[in-house]
Amino acid sequence: MAKTAIHAEDLVKIYANNFKALNGISLSVEDGKTFALVGPNGAGKTTLIRILTTQIRPSSGNAFVEDLNVLTQDDEIRRIISYVPQEISVWTDLSGYENLLIYAKIFGIQKEERKKRIDEVLNKMGLYSVKDEMVRYYSGGMMRRLEIACALLTKPRILFLDEPTIGLDPAARKVVWDELKSFKEEYGITIFFTTHYMDEADMYADEIALINRGELIKKGNPEELKGLIGGEIIQLELDGYDEEILYKIRELDFVNEVFREGNEIRIVTKGKGLELFDFLDFIKRLGIKIKKISLKQVSLDDVFLKYAGSSIEARGRAVEVARVRSRIRKA
């Protein structure tokens, strides 16, 4: 069996105001994997990451980071991990180089080693050319890459990232992840990150845990999770239909589930085959006209929707906008 990088057992966290952020979460992360904790805002993602990074203590339960106990061996854990919080964690009134220098000194990296390591992470994160500019003039993506550079200075064994690409545009998100992936390949570190971008988890994570209201909903690799739903989704609008047609569709052997949202019918198929053609044949035989039809891959959001009863994307937006604004204000 592969080594375990992170192991959580029945973690519960109740804050002073009686808010129950975690309600008994257990999970394990294999060494060297990229693990995504996915859920809407307020699901408990940040609380879990703060417990694992030994910032706060759980109300009950326990967790281990590389077999070190978060309750009793927190000092040792802090020597092998690095963490990038959701909020800005660099000094915006210093240059990028100075930020890395201060962090290098905080971590006690020896003088001879310092310059070499700083140059290395600056190059890795593609920031060498802007190293002497004030961080407040950096773009959001550059700031994030600097924060990750600060986290990588110590060559951690496990890297914790809390919403690493929040508020970044898709191009900037891709750059951040490309740099992370190349670093991971080189040093074989474990990455544990939280996100409410489903596509991000889908694209970059080896393993995903979906959480909602402080509870683990489902866990697995992206394909397994999407497999829980079925193959593909056929979305269509028909020119007049009744419950009987819906019933007939439901009875088809390749159909997993049928939902109706207004005029739109969503059909979840069982496997990844040529079911769309079979379906078109079937509709033709019934003699019904199709107004609109499209085929869509199952996304993790569909999985979340099924097991949590609400869509993560829809809930995320408004909160995110507010948060991004406050990020900008603070910078």
Partner: protein, 255 residues
């Protein structure tokens, strides 16, 4: 608590402050306006009135150490209160996951306030000299700067304790004033303690500012070192007690 780690981190935090000040000096200058006005306007006028007995030194010379301390205390108190801000920013969270002992985060942060204080002294002292204040000698002056440095750290920690009770960053200015003004007026900064009503005199005896003023006035102006050791001892005790409480209060800031 590992002393070497704490000292090392203190050094790093001071370097951080130094670098920030070098990049943006506006705040430094604006914060120097008030104390300079105290010396130039209040000091000059009160010297003419001669209402306060100051022995054989001029009134401006008498209040210079107090004004320096008032200015540095104000800077330190605000510096500590800013931790409320940082609670919401990522820097503090990130520092918590580094191998540093937690107490060193508080103490390092407090002593970095001393760096800002040093810059205040650099701006105010030349003005005092232009007004005719004579300092005894360089060695004594440097020693008094060290004392101000220590006191600044203590006051920054005091404000960290208060900050830990604050839920939001509003009322920031008000709280800053509410801490510094009583410390300043109920001390021997502007007038001898003996001139105060009895009740306030008692407060002044527990006011660390009084001991700081007494020590720096001895070293900068009067040269009468008879109470110096006792004053320094009082300041050290204040610092140690306040550092311990601030480290405890820090827990509340994290959660």
């Amino acid at each position: 608590m590992n002393i070497i780690e704490v000292l090392r981190y203190m050094g790093v935090m001071m370097e951080l402050e130094f670098r920030r000040i070098m990049h943006d000096r506006t705040e430094l200058y604006t914060r120097a306006i008030q104390p300079i006005l105290w010396l130039v306007l209040y000091g000059t006028v009160m010297s003419i009135v001669r209402a306060i007995p100051t022995g054989n030194v001029s009134y401006i010379a008498y209040i210079t150490p107090g004004i320096l301390l008032q200015s540095t205390t104000f800077v330190s108190v605000f510096f500590g209160l800013q931790m409320v801000w940082e609670r919401e920013s990522g820097v503090l969270k990130k520092l918590l996951t580094t191998p540093l002992p937690r107490s060193s985060i508080v103490i390092g942060r407090s002593m970095a306030a001393g760096i800002r204080s040093l810059f205040q002294i650099l701006l105010i002292v030349p003005v005092a000299m232009l007004l005719g204040v004579q300092f005894i000698n360089v060695a004594f002056f440097i020693l008094s700067v060290l004392i101000i440095f220590l006191v600044s750290g203590g006051f920054a920690s005091l404000s960290i304790i208060i900050a830990s009770f604050m839920k939001t960053r509003e009322r920031f200015m008000g709280i800053g004033q509410a801490i510094t003004m009583p410390l300043f007026f109920a001390s021997n900064a502007l007038y001898p303690v003996e001139l105060m009503p009895k009740a306030i005199q008692y407060f002044a005896y527990f006011n660390p500012m009084s001991y700081a003023v007494s020590a720096t006035r001895a070293l900068m102006i009067t040269g009468d070192l008879s109470t110096l050791l006792f004053d320094i001892l009082a300041i050290m005790i204040f610092d140690i007690i306040i550092f311990i409480f601030a480290s405890l209060a820090f827990k509340r800031i994290i959660e």
